[in-house]
């Protein structure tokens, strides 16, 4: 088991956002967490990547407890988080953003190859490499955000709502890219409000509602589940 979250309880001051959730992601899988706004999806990812500290519970990566590690340590170990709302550095160029994604890396040659790799994945980024990231369109920024996260050569990629705020056509493109990554062997934990698309491409899914895992299982099962259909797939 590559990534294991056990009994995680996270609080914002006195409000409990996560109430003892557990989930696993195995190597090569595409696992998705679906749920409505405020369910705790982003909180889960932020806790895995070390920005938030849980009050109870553990996060284990490759068998090691990473719960109390600093965020930059966790990135070094191989978990990369592409945050909600893209959060690219608008004042930096596309290239500089990508370089920041690889901040902790020392392996120059592989980094250069990865730079080529992400620019092949996202040709539009290659075209705009010297432009300020703030001048990119929403879809391009999302691609930059994913590319940036990939630059750290992650063993697990955490994707937080990559389709948020994008036009339907772009949403399709993004999900195609995610599938491509999956095909290339990247392990992905995808958080999405757009349950339809997420369940379409994932292997397994967790349904998160107000800090609790309501359902989990292979995607085929969940897609047939009546509650899931009604709540997230439009009946």
């Amino acid at each position: 088991m590559l990534l294991e979250v056990e009994n995680l309880s996270v609080y914002y001051d006195s409000i409990q956002a996560l109430k003892g959730i557990s989930l696993q992601v195995d190597s090569g899988e595409l696992v998705t967490i679906v749920g409505s706004n405020g369910a705790g999806k982003t909180t889960t990812l932020l806790t895995i990547s070390g920005i938030l500290r849980p009050r109870r519970g553990t996060v284990c990566f490759q068998g090691q407890d990473i719960t109390r590690l600093a965020p930059h340590e966790i990135v070094r170990r191989g978990i990369s988080h592409c945050p909600e709302g893209r959060q690219i550095f608008t004042g930096l160029t596309v290239l500089e953003n990508l370089l920041m994604g690889a901040y902790h890396r020392q392996d120059r040659d592989q980094m250069a190859r990865d730079l080529v790799w992400v620019q092949d994945l996202f040709p539009v980024l290659a075209a705009r490499r010297r432009q300020l990231a703030g001048t990119l369109s929403g879809g391009e920024q999302q691609m930059l955000a994913i590319a940036r996260a990939l630059m750290s050569r992650p063993k697990v990629l955490l994707l937080d709502e990559p389709s948020l705020g994008l036009a339907p056509m772009l949403v399709d493109t993004i999900f195609e890219v995610i599938q491509q990554l999956r095909a290339q062997g990247v392990t992905i934990l995808l958080v999405e409000q757009n349950a339809y698309q997420a369940l379409r491409i994932a292997d397994r899914a967790y349904v998160l509602e107000t800090g609790v895992i309501k359902l989990s299982g292979p995607v085929q099962e969940l897609a047939r589940n009546e509650e899931v259909k009604k709540a997230y797939l439009g009946g």
């Binding site: 930059h72 959060q87 690219i88 004042g91 930096l92 920041m100 901040y103």
Partner: protein
Amino acid sequence: MFSLPYVAQQVVNGLTLGSIYALVAIGLTIVYGILRLINFAHGDLLMVGAYLALALLLNTALPLGAAVLLPMIVVGGVGVLVERLAYRPLRGAPEVAMLITSLAVSSVIQNGTIMTLSAQPRAFRLPQGLIAQHQVGVVSFSTLDAVSVALAVGLMALLTLFVTRTRVGIAMRACAENLRAARLMGININQVIAYAFAIGSALAAAAGFMWAGRFGSIEPFMGFLPGLKAFVAAVIGGIGSIPGAMLGGYLLGFAEIFFVGFLPPELSGYRDAFVFALLLLVLLVRPRGLLATGVEREG
């Protein structure tokens, strides 16, 4: 009064004063951009730099360059130490707490100087070579003026290279824009913040040398006003933006010199009041400053 030589002289003065403000403003803006902290102790680092330079000039036979460079290194270290001891424990604390602590640090530095030395002003006499005057066409300037401006421009160029060509430098800009995203990238923000304080403090020390040379004397409270004015400069240029700090520094330097130079002499004593009136104006009319970045702050 508006003769060409006179105007040229004011321009030279504006350049020198602007260089000083720019150097100090850069340190303030870098730290504010990343931590949202107005480091009230920053101006006092200028004072420490001046005192160290004087100590070196008086007590050693070191060349002038060393009297500038060594204080920069030492004060850079002091800045890192201050951050580690006083500001890091307050990461994430309410703004008011950081503000009060930076005031306390300023008090410690000022009174530390009073305690170890004395509150009496000391003369800052420069080696003869620096005071020499030169004449180029209508412009008259001293070697100190030329050295100050050249040093400032050189340091700013180095800094620009640093923040565009090095990993840590680019990370510094990234942290100023979005600290959380930077952490998610695996950027060690403690390291970046240490660099920010080291660089900003070193620049302030260089400015201390220039200031002391320009005004001829130093005293423990000398950093308070330049520090405050440098903040005004940073705000004018756009807080959080390094080019903004440079631009704001020179704009403020020129504004101040022109205020004194071209208005009736009875008003010249009001120049500090003018600077703050300017601050208020900028904060009310264009709070993001001239070269606004994506940096968020209250206002």
